[in-house]
Amino acid sequence: MKDTTLNPFNITKAVDFSDQEINDYWVDISSGDGFTGLAKPTSPMPMLILGGKGSGKTHLMRYFSYPLQCIRHTQDVLAGIKHDKYIGVYLRCSSLNSLRFREKGQREEMWEEVFAYYMELWLSQLMLSTVLSAVGGTSELADREADVVAELAALIHLRQRPSPTSLSGLNALLRELQQELDGAVNNSAITRTLPVHIAITRGDLVFGIPRAIEASLRSLRGCLFLYLIDEFENLSEVQQKYVNTLLRDRKSPCSFKIGARMYGIRTLSTYSTDEENKEGSEFEVLRLDAILRENKKYEEFAKRLIAKRLAEFNRAQSVPTTLDANAKSLGECFEEPPKSDFSASETAYVIDKYHGRERPYFKNLRQRLERGLKWNVTPGLRQPADIEKVLQLLQCPKFPLLEKANIFFFYQDWRSKHNLLEASRKIGDECDQYVHGTSKGSRHKEGLLHWKADLLAQLYRDTDQPQRYVGLSTFVEISSGLPRILLIVLKHIFAWATFNGEKPFQGSPISMRSQQTGVSEASEWFYRDARMIGREGQLVMDGINRLGTLFRGIRFSDKPAECSCSSFSIDVSRSSETTRRVLDLAEKWSLLIDVGGQPDRNTERIDRKYQLNRMLAPRWDLSIYRRGALALKPEELNAVFDPDHVEEFDKLSEERVARMSAPFFGHVPRALGDMSGDLGLYAEQDHD
């Protein structure tokens, strides 16, 4: 029985799938030649398949492995392989337990040799097992086996051992050599000695087995023998160097696909006089999540992925329909706020909730105006009655969103030191015209085009409502090219919908309440799960926390400088070395997404631009969409990511946010200087 009985999205990792399920749940992307076109399994050029956690590397690599080829070609596996033109041998580096090949009183060079030998034995066994499974028992092999074995046995320094007479005997010999080596490596922790006899020269069997088989067996002639080496990040630098050398010295008919997390490539160096492999020359790179993220067909792919899950889940009872038809109608399965002019439906609750009392955003504005009046920073306002007048002019009771827009424009004018009474009158008039459709190019139309999402977010916050991350398109956007993220979000939403008594994907759409809770839970999981292994993990997470706090402070300030603030641009070269390192790690761990370059407003310089992973947006109530990017100064970035500068963070971020906060907009009267602490990130918010 499948463990998807209760929730079709329960399984979110390819490793939890059986080979059959990898095949059953396979969904291709509909651009070009799909994933096969991207991964090029028949290409002799080695490839690094890089991607964040959950980008689908393992699913992809397993899809090209021999067990999956068997499933796809049940009728005649050999003919299928011949048709595919490759045979895939899959290896997980974590199964090598590679950390034991170090220290224990031995020199590093010794471990380099020992590990290379171990890997040779390991890869060779996998290759032989695969070949035996494919051609074992055939008359073709029976005819040629003795010659092939003799050729391969000649590559092994057998010493006193009898020469194997069959491929399975050869495999048993390799297993025996491996066990002998395991014993020596493991005991060295106790004995501090490492008595090892290396019986095979590097690469001899890794390349020799495919060469001998391909040359001898017609059924596999012309096939590429493809080593699919996954979880490469599990190997140390010197261990990767050995694999890099295999890539560099690759011999036909072999090739390699190396799967690794973004941070997983520790070196491109090889043992060939320490030369580095070069992209385009010794290997090519497939950056899986970046490709998916930027692919116009990603949304379609994501929907097909969901539809496939649902089809498998409902296999027994569903009426057969095409995957594409199901995928297209998926959007209707999620409740979304009804479309209405000026978001009236979405914000109607404000009218009821604050019936007979002042709405919280006006209360906040009143406090700021009173404070400003006291310090004489309210141009055009002279007495408390003027404040009442301003508040009255900015009201638009039927449309709370427009009231938020009015206040936002008012803060803009205030910061520009306009006469506030006149400004509020003008804003009120323009609002009336906008509501009645008589002012097509108004400030409101333009402003809402850019700021609507932020103003709604502020409105929800002002009125103690959770932020709304709802609708399928939102979830696809949140996943940022990482299909596993999408599945995890849906898993949580499905679980909450079921808990709330709903029947997800069966009739009524999933409520916004279930969607919000599910997304929020998934975001918390992502945050917890993102913690990296090692000492620097905490540094990265602390930096990300500070960045999220800064973005939140800006988004919920009176007059945010950037809309949908979840990205920043920076001249990385001017930041500290630690900052650069932590920033690099944050990117490699997919906590930050590199979204290209951005010209600096004041110079010709092109700055790097990063977006906080969208999955983290709900944690700080941020936008998942990217519009404006906050231009950070190097000292600000250092304060975010460098532990030697973090004590400056509060001050710098408060200064930033203070520039966007009434009544002083960063120009605190000298007499108030000592009290400026309450002007910062957490400027007073009056909540019910």
Partner: protein, 318 residues
Amino acid sequence: MIDYTVLYKGELPVDGDWPLEARWDIFVSAFTAAERVRRVYEKAPAASKHWIVFPEYGFAKEEYPAAAFASLARDEAEYVKSFWDSAIGDIAGRTLGIDITGFIRPYLIFLLRWLAECGVRRFDALYTEPVIYEKREQTRFSDEIVLEVRQIAGFEGTHNPDTSNDYLIIGAGYDHQLIAQVAENKEFSKKIQVFGLPSLRADMYQENVLRAYRAEEAVGRHTTDESSSYFAPANDPFVTASTLREIVSRLDARKPITNLYLSPLATKPQVLGFAVYYLTERRNTATSLIFPFCEAYNPETSTGISRILKYTVELPSM
């Protein structure tokens, strides 16, 4: 095949004198700030007593007890070997008592292998149960900064390139981050969790499960139809070893296990059970004990002494 459950398990008085069989030539204990560790050390009757101080607890030199062994080596094999060579030496003919309460797990596990290598066939292990963990289910035993997940020295098996039916059995403790990290490290293995039940105290099982649930996404759900949760008493290494044998036999009978990983993250008695099971039955097979090695551990997580348990552990010859 050894029947672990007939091995001796008894209780020593918290306040009164200890019986004659609870006296040793050598007594070893790991220094922590916990009352339960210090009181037992003071009380234990032995010709020669040894404190050892682990670097992960972060004690300053001036906090070390007199004549304690300390080393900055974080390699469990190097540390234990160095302690043994400098403080114990030849143990032939001498009785040994070890208070496992304050031991950091990988050191304790390697120590068992080391003892077996030194020809020790029997020793007494003491474990003192706390009255309560200070922050209940929020208790953090480690700083949760995992430096690496790897095999424990002396418990590294000879593994199999075929990974089609690998299993990871986790002794699930309070540190959910550690569970998550170890599960991530052997992501492809099917996961089994062994919970401490009966727990040390009645409420600890609930706390344990609450914490372990937080690692749910990393542990994952599997397409097998067997239950992925088992139970063994939190304070009984011998039943723990028997439970492991039972789990492994059952899984193996269904389909031969290709590689087996054991990760003891729960109570020290359970850790002892995992190590004894490995040494007795899984040496030189495709089985390893793996552990998420942390930067630091909290030297004080509990209050009070509830019971002092004594286990007589038998080790196989190497």
